[in-house]
């Protein structure tokens, strides 16, 4: 059981207890003293077990505070990483090359040790996240600065190292942010290697969205397959794959010059616009059926971006601006009505 599963169990117990009290108050259901006592003892034992092993939110107020602490962790990690970078830049000119390299090698290793130490006393994992992000920042500095000191030519292999480290530490400590970052870096590495294998300059892989579109779709499928061994990060795979795929489709739908296809500009743009609408529509449907909440949000956001981009291309140049925004506003109102209808249907079929 991981933290999210433990939190879900605690939430279910809370909801059950509240509903039971309401039913008893309304006279629908009544437990005798023995049953009530047995139930309370059983729940107390489970809650005690869960809260001993995990740092869980017992109510909405605690949940909101946890979100705030998570945001503070990320800001703290960014600030601490900046501090490490700036300290290194401040002192590295005073050191011999061997000392510079030793410091750069030691920094991420110290970060890993710090992360492990934090995981032992911090059940909430906020300090674990900070330590892991600082360790990752130290590794980024390690690879880029050693490359700089020895005037090495840039290579996509640096992305592979960063990706492997982020995934390793993300999986080890159950940190979704690190896993998501590792997956994005893995896509960038594979795209760079693919472009290089075709004779291109790897750092121009960003100008071939079709390459990373393919990788992102593979990731999306990998996250959607139920038998994924590490199911606890399946939604992270899906969300990263979907986000990257939507960005690639959107870029291709507005700039055909970035496509490797030897089609006309119109054909390329139309193909990827249709692809964008099909993907967002499919994801919204899939998300509604399988309780993939982030998929529904990302799909809806992508659909709106594709739709408004199309409106802009069709009408902005010749239509009065006030009329353009009137149509955009009316479409938004229309979409709210459609989504309300879809939600009502989903409730009926649930």
């Amino acid at each position: 059981m991981d933290t999210s599963e433990a939190q879900a169990r605690l939430d279910r117990i809370g909801a059950f207890t509240g509903e039971l009290a309401a039913l008893e108050r309304d006279g629908v259901l009544s437990l005798d003293d023995g049953e009530r006592s047995a139930l309370a003892t059983y729940h107390q034992r489970i809650v005690s077990d869960l809260t001993t092993h995990f740092d869980l939110d017992r109510d909405e107020a605690q949940r909101r505070m946890s979100l705030g602490m998570r945001a503070a962790s990320i800001i703290g990690a960014i600030a601490l990483s900046a501090s490490v970078y700036l300290f290194f830049f401040r002192i590295w000119g005073l050191l011999a090359t061997s000392a510079q390299v030793s410091l750069l090698v030691a920094a991420p290793l110290a970060g890993v040790v710090l992360t492990e130490a934090a995981s032992r006393f911090d059940k909430s994992r906020h300090f674990v996240l900070i330590a892991a992000l600082v360790a990752f920042a130290c590794l980024v500095a390690n690879v880029s600065m050693i490359g700089h000191i020895f005037a090495m030519t840039g290579s996509p292999d640096a992305l592979l190292v960063w990706s492997a480290f982020a995934l390793a530490i993300g999986y080890a400590y159950g940190l979704r942010l690190l896993v998501a970052g590792g997956l994005i870096l893995a896509i960038a590495f594979l795209a760079g290697r693919t472009v290089a294998a075709a004779g291109g300059e790897w750092s121009e892989a960003g100008r071939r969205p079709e390459v990373w579109l393919a990788m992102a779709l593979l990731l999306l499928v990998a996250g959607a397959v139920r038998s994924t061994r590490r199911r606890r990060f399946a939604s992270t795979y899906r969300n990263v794959g979907l986000s990257v795929a939507l960005i690639a489709l959107w870029i291709l739908s507005i700039n055909a010059d970035l496509s490797a296809l030897r089609w006309s500009e119109t054909a390329i743009k139309a193909t990827y616009q249709i692809g964008g609408f099909v993907l967002t529509g499919s994801v919204i449907m899939l998300g509604l059926r399988t309780d993939w909440t982030e998929g529904v949000y990302l799909g809806a956001l992508g659909f709106i971006v594709f739709l408004y981009t199309k409106f802009f291309q069709w009408w902005w140049d010749w239509m009065p601006a006030y009329l353009f925004f009137l149509i955009v506003g009316l479409v938004a109102v229309g979409m709210i009505l459609v989504l309300r209808r879809v939600r009502a249907l989903a409730t009926v079929f649930a």
Binding site: W92, G93, V113, V143, E201
Partner: protein, 191 residues
């Protein structure tokens, strides 16, 4: 616990070992080129309170934004580099090798090829021609990938007394390092 720590530690260890071995391999044996440049071609980067290291930047014909040396290629060379000459093709830049001629105050790209050996055969003078990695574009542009050079502590004091000459070696991986920084004997000003 060991497994949690072991994998990230191994990633760091392997990555650093590969990088340091690669740097050592680049500098092992006879360098591919050994050239002397002036303090006009390799200028000292501005000193900053936040960055205590001293670095040298390539200046001759260099794009200040990207810190790289640009040149132009003819249609024949572009075809040899694998570019499709048909109009309307959408091609990415290609990673190639460039030959740079060091001739007094001049430093310019004079040739390009897919293989470094091809360039070295055409330009065998290792004291005059550098072979470096470069990126060529379908419109004829080419930029040599010449990174800023971190100056080892032993040479830092020379940067405050220009003019100077910088002797660079380019190794097996066509990556440069500073061999020496020497003062230039400036002639006495005549009255």
């Amino acid at each position: 616990m060991m497994r949690r720590v072991l994998v990230p530690v191994l990633v760091v260890a392997i990555a650093d070992a590969v990088m340091l071995l690669s740097a050592a391999a680049n500098r092992a044996g006879q360098p591919d080129a050994r050239v002397t440049l002036t303090s006009r071609q390799l200028v000292s980067a501005p000193v900053s309170a936040r960055n205590s290291a001293r670095e040298l930047r390539w200046m001759n014909g260099v794009d200040a934004l990207h810190g790289v040396l640009f040149g132009r290629l003819d249609a024949g060379t572009l075809t040899a580099l694998g570019f499709d000459s048909r109009p309307g093709t959408r091609q990415l830049g290609r990673r190639v090798f460039a030959a740079l001629e060091v001739d007094g105050a001049r430093l310019q790209i004079v040739d390009a090829a897919l293989a470094a050996e091809t360039l070295r055969r055409s330009h065998p003078d290792r004291g005059r021609y550098i072979v470096a990695r470069a990126v060529a574009y379908g419109d004829g542009r080419i930029r040599a990938l010449l990174p800023e050079l971190v100056v080892p502590r032993a040479f830092v004091h020379m940067l405050d007394r220009p003019p100077y000459t910088v002797t660079l070696a380019f190794g097996r991986h066509y990556e440069p390092w500073i061999v020496a920084i020497d003062p230039v004997d400036t002639p006495a000003v005549r009255q």
